[in-house]
């Protein structure tokens, strides 16, 4: 009986040492999870998730303070990717944080009305508006993410939202209907 205990204890410690050695020797340097989460977010920096940008939201998710379904620009695809990364359940987008836009949008400044106040330039989280005080302001359309943060500060309401319609060069085909996958009447 005594022999059994000693033997098992020795075997357990041997395996323990082996595991410890493996943990140190074969350690894989991974990306800190905050970077991994941030790489999945759309970088719109709109703040609809109630955090001051995508990075703070990623940090909050890493700490467990924020849920994965607070990002409307990311949409369903981002929620699924986050669920996969963090090993949690997929859930539908939390409607409190906004609606998913059907088409991507950009903004344009109406040059007739712009007064050159720079309030929109200060509001843009990615510096996508060119201009300076008393000089014309212009949105760099190729960089605009559609976060709409510049719309509110403009005192003359000269910034307007435009949908970016798909072209033959960037359209996506739709998956066909698979009738048997969901219940239906009859």
């Amino acid at each position: 009986m005594f022999i059994v205990i000693i033997t098992l204890a020795i075997i357990a410690s041997l395996f323990g040492l082996l595991l410890a050695y493996s943990a140190i020797r074969f350690k894989v340097e991974g990306d800190p999870v905050v970077n991994q989460i941030d790489s999945l977010l759309p970088q719109t920096q709109c703040g609809q998730c109630t955090y001051a940008g995508c990075r703070p939201y990623a940090e909050a998710m890493a700490k467990g303070e924020a849920d994965i379904n607070q990002c409307p620009p990311g949409g369903e695809a981002t929620i699924i990717a986050l669920a996969d990364l963090l090993d949690v359940e997929v859930k539908p987008l939390n409607a409190e944080h906004g609606e998913v836009k059907t088409l991507p949008t950009i903004v344009r400044i109406d040059e007739e009305t712009c007064i050159g106040c720079t309030l929109c330039i200060q509001a843009c989280p990615i510096d996508a508006i060119l201009g300076a005080a008393k000089l014309m302001h212009t949105v760099i359309e190729s960089e605009c993410t559609g976060c709409d943060l510049c719309i509110a500060p403009c005192p003359v309401d000269c910034i307007h939202i435009f949908e970016v319609k798909p072209t033959t060069r960037n359209w996506t085909a739709e998956l066909p209907d698979a009738d048997f996958a969901s219940p239906h009447a009859g």
Partner: protein, 546 residues
């Protein structure tokens, strides 16, 4: 050891076989494929006819693979026939030319024939019926003494793209290094389409001339014209021209009629026995493949200085009253072509651009003929309508048996439905040529090609979005950095200012002290100076006394 030796011997045998294959005309087979009913006779009963020119032409700016062309004209400009109205948008792009002389009336969005059904930028030209060409200085026979880059420039400026349907810019494929074999693709494997067939029958000499030009550009050693064996007249016509040529550079290779032997990669496997390595170009195995109509267009460019402004299109199907092949100017409305062929029949059902396997349905005929329009197929209502919704996959594996790329269409279907991008890429989703063989045999009527197209376009769009969001992240970080820097600088300036203010008051005190000390020092210095003077004087006086 012996196994290795045996393996090497087998490899050598295969290599030798490949080498001899080209010389001896042995054919290989590609995996999968289907035997389909050709329906070619529907449209080959008459010669190529021409349509009377119309009043309005709509020329889309994107008729090719690559970047959209850049407009060179504006509304109100008068253009000549053959004038370049849009230039290449990028290295991989094509120029666009006016099909008629007339006036540019508009440049705006119009519906274009594309599988998405979307609109695109088009140049609208109103024909003045003067048929006035630009000045043309054809090179003619001189091409034999012209350097390849110059010949490629002529082809490039003529806006010539692959006319088999893929519309890849032709000159980009024609590199000079190591392209030993030129294959002319006269297979035309899809049912109903016969434009290449009729072109070979009626204009064989021009095709061979074009092939000779290409052969000269790429310094090929041989040219093989691949023609499916269901086109005996075309084979005869081409053979007659080859016999007259007598140089031995050209050779016809009749291939069995299997769909899709006209696919570039499949055709190369049939003729050379080799497979184009994944993600690489046929040039890597010393082969260049061009469609016969492309060769014809190259002939027109070199001998007539004509840019690509027309093509042969097959108007066919049970839903057309007089199916035939027509020579039509790019930009001609499809309505005009249909009318020329007698119009629609009573029970016409779908208007398809392309063939029945790879073609896509069009939403109306108010669309222009583009460079890719090899066929307009009008089908009639079928007695048995396929189900709206498809049945579940029963994993029968028929799709695997027919895939010409040796993919697993079944697995691609499962992963596309569940949007599993990783597995889709593992199963080589982007090697799919969308030939439709898998969907043709599927007993559950699953529209497999639609699944793959959705998966591919979604993935490409996701990649685009990911790159855009990476840039946005960098911009945001730069924005943060800039604000931080500004804050720091402001804080620094404030600190310095405060420091300076503090120092100024200290300085005043110090100044006071300083001036006192300075006065004392001055006085001491004066005193010492005086002392020194006196000593000097005394010394001198002493000297004098002595």
């Amino acid at each position: 050891m012996r196994i290795l030796h045996h393996h090497m011997q087998v490899k050598l045998k295969i290599m030798n076989r490949n080498h001899n294959q080209l010389e001896e005309g042995i054919l290989s087979k590609f995996d999968g494929g289907l035997k389909l009913v050709g329906h070619k006779q529907v449209s080959t009963g008459s010669a190529i006819s021409s349509i009377t020119p119309g009043k309005h032409y709509v020329i889309p700016l994107q008729q090719h693979i690559g970047a959209i062309s850049q407009v060179l004209v504006k509304s109100g400009d008068r253009v000549l026939k053959g004038q370049m109205i849009a230039k290449r948008g990028d290295l991989i792009s094509a120029a666009i030319h006016a099909p008629v002389s007339g006036v540019v009336t508009d440049i705006k969005q119009h519906a274009v024939p594309h599988v998405s059904g979307l609109s695109d930028e088009c140049i609208f030209i109103e024909n003045d019926f003067k048929d006035e060409w630009i000045e043309r200085n054809p090179l003619g026979d001189d091409y034999n003494h012209t350097a390849s880059p110059n010949l490629r420039k002529i082809i490039r400026d003529a806006g010539i793209v692959g006319l088999g349907g893929a519309t890849f810019p032709a000159s980009v494929k024609q590199t000079e290094i190591n392209l030993k074999t030129l294959i002319l693709n006269g297979a035309e494997c899809e049912p109903y389409i016969s434009c290449d067939d009729i072109l070979m029958r009626e204009r064989a000499a021009e095709i061979i001339s074009g092939a000779d030009i290409i052969g000269h550009i790429i310094k090929a050693r041989r040219c093989i014209i691949a023609i499916e064996d269901n086109k005996p007249e075309a084979i005869k016509a081409i053979q007659a021209v080859i016999d007259e040529d007598g140089t031995g550079f050209f050779r016809i290779q009749a291939i069995p009629t299997i769909y899709p032997s006209g696919g570039e990669k499949q055709l190369i496997k049939i003729i050379t026995g080799k497979e184009v390595p994944m993600n690489r170009f046929p040039a890597e195995i010393d082969v260049l493949c061009h469609n016969v109509a492309t060769a014809y267009a190259i002939h027109r460019a070199i001998y007539f200085a004509e840019p690509l402004i027309s093509r042969i299109t097959t108007i066919t199907g049970q839903g057309i009253k007089q199916p035939q092949n027509i020579e039509v100017l790019i930009g001609t409305p499809m309505q005009a072509c249909i009318e020329h062929c007698g119009g629609y029949t009573e029970d016409s059902d779908e208007l398809i651009m392309g063939g029945p396997m790879m073609g896509f349905t069009l939403k109306s005929d108010d669309l222009p003929i583009v460079k890719a329009t090899n066929c307009l197929l009008v089908t009639t209502k079928e007695k048995e309508m396929p189900e709206q919704h498809h049945m579940p996959c029963i994993r029968c594996g028929k799709c695997v048996d027919v895939c010409p790329v040796r993919l697993l269409p079944q697995q691609l279907y499962w992963y596309a439905s569940s949007k599993n991008t990783d597995r889709l890429l593992e199963h080589n989703l982007f090697d799919c040529i969308e030939c439709g063989c898998c969907a043709y045999v599927c007993p559950s009527d699953i529209p497999l090609v639609q699944y793959y197209r959705a998966a591919k376009t979604t993935f490409i769009q996701q990649e685009r979005e990911r790159k855009a969001s990476d840039i946005a992240r960098q911009r945001h970080e730069a924005h943060q950095f800039r604000l931080e820097k500004q804050k720091k600088e402001r804080a620094e300036r404030l600190r310095k200012k405060r420091e300076m203010l503090k120092n100024k008051s200290n300085d005043k005190e110090a100044d006071k002290k300083d001036s006192k000390q300075a006065a004392i020092a001055d006085a001491v210095a004066r005193a010492q100076a005086k002392k020194a003077e006196r000593l000097k004087e005394n010394k001198a006086a002493d000297q004098d006394i002595k």
